[in-house]
């Protein structure tokens, strides 16, 4: 039985011990501000690291996601408990937590604070974007996200505005254009991130309203309520004109950046006498046009063939009939028909 290889009591005991200890601390209201880094999370990661090699590739991503989400919702509950520890009133503590959560969304998207896990939840749409960008680019999707862009932009714009000179003028222009595209994409990405931060703030407020309606009795319930709040806020916000524009701007900025890279690569390829993407595009279009022509001609040939066969069949019918009738002139028609048929073969 391989069960023990992946699941052993020792690991469970470690978790239990941690939670017993933690529970005790809570009950004694020690008022700890920050709990130790979660052994549950560490144990999970350690265990997953040990067993994931044995999991088929089809299941690795799937299982990793379940693990990540488990961490997300327990950390949220843990932070909630932590916020409530040692307080005279759980409701006050909860209100303080939500206020803190709301405040944390007002900070930078990468802010480091006690509510990071909950705010990180709002990174999911951005994480999806980064994954997609990584999949279609030679560089990681978040490569530009952490780079400074605020005050630098104006100076760089000035520098990039200077015209290229001399023999390498064209090349300079291409690189200037590339750097401008990088700056634009970075700016679009930051604005996009900030928009999500504002959504996070709204969802925290909504959570506050919703937990006021019904008692929260489990981490799962808290997590599900939080997901529901995030999803509802998200659904409303992404239909606004502001978001439509932001979304379009970010996709366009990424494409502009990629096309500038492409132009520079094309130049290298041309210099080495290797076909560029533009060359291939021309060939693809010409080839498809030719295929369309071939298909069209083939269809016409088929129509003509069917018509011809029909005419041939029609011609054959009276000939047979008339042969039976025995008229001399019509008898001569039959060999003619055969001749055409023979020709066809």
């Amino acid at each position: 039985m391989i069960k023990n290889a992946f699941w052993n009591d020792g690991w469970m005991d470690t978790q239990r011990r941690y939670w017993e200890q933690w529970t005790e601390m809570q009950q004694q209201a020690l008022g700890i501000k920050k709990p130790p880094s979660s052994p549950w999370e560490q144990a999970m990661e350690h265990w997953w690291g040990a067993v994931q090699g044995a999991v088929p590739s089809t299941g690795q991503d799937f299982f990793g996601k379940m693990l990540d989400q488990g961490k997300a919702f327990f950390q949220m509950a843990e932070q909630t408990m932590q916020a409530a520890s040692g307080r005279e009133n759980v409701a006050d503590a909860w209100a303080r937590l939500l206020a803190g959560l709301t405040e944390s969304f007002r900070q930078t998207p990468n802010g480091d604070d006690a509510f990071k896990q909950a705010t990180a939840f709002w990174e999911m749409p951005l994480d999806n974007w980064n994954r997609m960008v990584s999949a279609i680019s030679p560089v990681p999707g978040d490569v530009l996200r952490g780079m400074p862009h605020g005050g630098v932009r104006e100076q760089v714009d000035r520098m990039l505005g200077a015209p290229g000179l001399g023999y390498t003028r064209e090349s300079q222009t291409q690189y200037q254009s590339l750097i401008q595209a990088i700056m634009e994409y970075q700016e679009a990405l930051v604005k996009y991130s900030l928009f999500f931060s504002s959504m996070g703030e709204k969802s925290a407020k909504l959570l506050q309203e919703r937990v006021g309606d019904a008692p929260v009795e489990s981490a799962r319930q808290l997590y599900d309520t939080w997901v529901g709040c995030c999803e509802d806020v998200y659904a409303a916000e992404v239909m606004t004109d502001d978001y439509r524009e932001l979304h379009g701007r970010m996709v366009n900025a990424l494409m502009k950046l990629k096309s500038r890279w492409g132009a520079i690569f094309n130049k290298f390829l041309s210099a080495m006498n290797i076909p560029t993407r533009d060359d291939l595009r021309t060939l693809q279009e010409r080839m498809q046009e030719q295929r369309r022509g071939n298909q069209s001609l083939r269809a016409e040939v088929n129509v003509l063939r069917r018509e011809f066969n029909k005419i041939q069949a029609d011609a054959a019918k009276p000939a047979v009939k008339q042969t039976v009738k025995g008229t001399a002139t019509r008898k001569t028609a039959a060999p003619g028909t055969k001749k055409v048929a023979a020709k066809k073969r």
Partner: protein
């Protein structure tokens, strides 16, 4: 008053239970084996480029109720095995059981050599030649068509342009009006420079489509569903079913660049289909030319194609025999839910057999 009642001991219990399920669930994951999809026996009857036209075998004991074969035109997005994903969740099985002779176009996976394929090439080319193949095989001048999602839009264009070859048309979760108020996909593409997108990336990568679809409900689709799945890990069959769906969701073929450009620019951004301004291969598409019987099926909780995006069809087709069928479910549930197996496919079969 905020009613926060998570007790530390309960929280600890919950975590241990979650961990236990994860740990034991991995056993089932290791034993899961190959994730098979597309379960009904079928025979390829025509191939062209990457396209394969399949004919499904009639199940034993089922007699033909309809002399007119049914051709399923699936979307270019994702793979058509969704219609036959597992034995107890198969639209195709349901249609076969209702006595239909079922054909399906599998578009395959376009690569860069397919970049220049236009909507005209798909509709007047591939679909038309598949229809001809089926007609010829059965000695008929016209057949029944079932178009799904984007494949439904293609089927509408096809029927408008080749009305003599379509006897009955069924559309499922098909966008017709691309600018209805709740259409999230439409809202997002309005400001995208589609020419720059296609000119830059060529064929549209499947990853980009995945990102778009997951972004419709990012917290549920990339987070919560995996937490919910932990509760099902005890059941190997449910694990396999879940992984089957995961496989389908992320099995996204790239989109031929020129077709994508035309579909997004003309249909989503300009909404040409209902304006009577769509042009396919140089011919104008007039939905009024669709005079054959039409059954339009939509999903009431569809987050990809909102119901009103589909139901607007009724105002544009020229058919005297137009009916709608509302399915209480979502865009995917319409193929795989238990209710769909019990109600939807028999209803389609009945509608076709009556015509």
């Amino acid at each position: 008053m905020i009613n926060f009642q998570i007790r530390p001991d309960k929280l600890a219990e919950e975590m241990v239970e979650y961990s236990r399920k994860l740990g034991q669930g991995i056993e089932h994951l290791i034993d899961v084996g190959e994730i098979d999809t597309g379960v009904s026996p079928r025979t390829p009857v025509y191939r062209e480029d990457k396209l394969v036209l399949y004919r499904y075998d009639r199940p034993q004991g089922v007699t033909a109720s309809n002399d007119t074969p049914l051709l399923i035109v699936y979307a270019l997005v994702n793979r058509p095995y969704m219609t036959d994903i597992q034995e107890d969740r198969s639209t195709i099985r349901g249609l076969l059981a209702s006595g239909q002779d079922v054909y399906l176009i599998d578009w395959g996976y376009p690569d860069s050599s397919d970049f220049a394929l236009t909507m005209g090439d798909y509709i007047n080319g591939y679909i038309d030649r598949c229809v001809d193949q089926v007609c010829e095989a059965h000695g008929l001048d016209s057949i029944n068509i079932l178009g799904i999602c984007q494949g439904g839009t293609f089927s509408l264009c096809y029927t408008a342009l080749h009305s003599e070859k379509v006897r009955n048309l069924v559309t499922m979760v098909t966008p017709v009006d691309f600018k209805t108020p709740n259409d999230m996909l439409s809202a997002w593409v309005q400001h995208i420079d589609i020419d720059m997108l296609v000119d830059t990336v060529g064929n549209i990568p499947g990853e980009m489509l995945n990102w778009t679809f997951l972004s419709l409900k990012p917290f549920s689709l990339t987070g919560q569903k995996y937490v919910n799945m932990v509760d099902l890990l005890d059941d190997p069959k449910k694990v396999k079913n879940f992984l089957r769906m995961e496989k389908w969701i992320f099995d996204s073929p790239d989109q031929a660049g020129e077709t994508f450009r035309q579909f997004i620019r003309d249909f989503y951004q300009k909404n040409v289909l209902i304006a009577g301004e769509a042009e396919i291969g140089g011919d104008r598409v007039d939905l009024g030319n669709i005079t054959c019987p039409v059954l339009n099926i939509y999903a009431q909780q569809d987050h990809l194609v909102p119901p009103d995006a589909s139901t607007s069809l009724g105002g544009y087709v020229g058919s005297d025999d137009y009916s709608e069928l509302a399915f209480p479910g979502g865009h995917i549930g319409i193929y795989v839910s238990g209710r769909a197996q019990k109600q939807l496919t028999p209803a389609i079969g009945k509608w076709l057999n009556a015509r």
